[in-house]
């Protein structure tokens, strides 16, 4: 499965994503510079985390205008897998590929720690191998992960099975105490109506090796391998 990791000026989890899919998962991967338009036949697009354009103005606001985003949108429109991680999630919402917006954590602080998330659906290419109700331990590292959308959109997302991960406690129960940033409905990750575009705040690439304290995150990348590519 060919992976492409998009690199924006300021991206800093690009190498981590590359490492996870190329060296840990052992799949072909390449970087695509944001000024390019050619995704080079990649099947899975990763929009990595970091601080594209320094998070200036709003996280993801400036990156969404990069030339490559048109190709990412086409890829998404064709129903192919796209995952936006952390800043990548922010970029996908700014670009309108996912609904809603991410704003400042209620604590107003950057938070870096491990959290638990509950998988709500197996319908995305990144969760095919994860059962609904399963709990994963994944790291977060963000200052603007507080998901918001209007009530109507939220209802639609629930209706359409678009909420993919919710923050929860170690037992799998979503709760305000387990929600690190105040996000609506304890949302940690959502997908588009088609299910092929996933955005999430936690960093699966940082939880892809036992040596680093856990490998639950690898399962998201592994899941894509069982997706038949048309």
């Amino acid at each position: 499965m060919q992976f492409a990791v998009i690199v924006f000026p300021g991206s800093n989890c690009d190498h981590d994503c590359y490492h996870a899919v190329a060296h840990v998962l052992g799949q072909p991967a390449k970087f695509v510079w944001h000024k390019e338009r050619d995704l080079g036949g990649a099947e899975v697009i990763i929009v990595p985390g970091g601080f594209s354009y320094g998070d200036y103005l709003r996280a993801g606001a400036i990156s969404r205008f990069s030339p490559v985003m048109k190709s990412v949108a086409d890829h998404a429109a064709a129903g192919r897998p796209v995952i936006g991680i952390c800043n990548g999630f922010q970029i996908l919402t700014e670009a309108g590929l996912l609904p809603g917006a991410l704003h400042r954590n209620t604590s107003l602080r950057f938070i870096c720690k491990d959290v638990y998330v509950r998988c709500m659906t197996s319908r995305t290419p990144f969760t095919t191998e994860i059962l609904p109700g399963e709990t994963l331990r994944l790291p977060i590292a963000h200052g603007e992960g507080n998901y918001f959308c209007d009530a109507e959109t939220f209802a639609e997302m629930e209706e359409n099975d678009q909420i993919v991960f919710r923050y929860c406690d170690a037992e799998g129960t979503p709760s305000p105490e387990a929600n690190p940033n105040g996000s609506l409905g304890h949302i940690a990750g959502i997908c588009n109506t088609g299910g092929n575009v996933l955005g999430l705040m936690p960093h699966p690439e940082r939880a892809s090796e036992a040596a680093l304290g856990g490998d639950d995150g690898l399962r998201l990348f592994q899941s894509t391998l069982s997706v038949t590519v048309s």
Partner: protein
């Protein structure tokens, strides 16, 4: 170069964590009777245009495309010394 001022605020109904924090901090500093506090952005932009209406048009476009996120934010443009008949805050939604 002419100047435009842009004010970006959270939409009604969107929780403003920074505003809440400022409000709490003001109270604990001893300021009494502080009500709602909302923290937004204030952007000053220099543009080459000179007719106030043109400037406004251009800058509103900037807001729609980049400066404000219509999901959570409203914006308002003012042209100093220009025609600033009160205008309701705008958003794309």
């Amino acid at each position: 170069m002419a100047k435009a001022h842009v004010y970006i605020t959270y939409k009604n109904g969107v929780l403003d964590p920074q505003g809440e924090a400022v409000k709490d901090a003001l109270s604990s500093l001893g300021f009494q009777g502080v009500g709602d506090v909302r923290v937004g952005k204030y952007i000053e932009i220099e543009v080459e245009k000179s007719a106030p209406d043109e400037i406004r048009g251009e800058v509103e476009k900037m807001c729609q495309e980049l400066l404000a996120n219509p999901v959570i934010e409203d914006f308002r443009v003012e042209i100093p010394n220009g025609n600033n008949n009160p205008q309701p805050p705008k958003s794309e939604a």
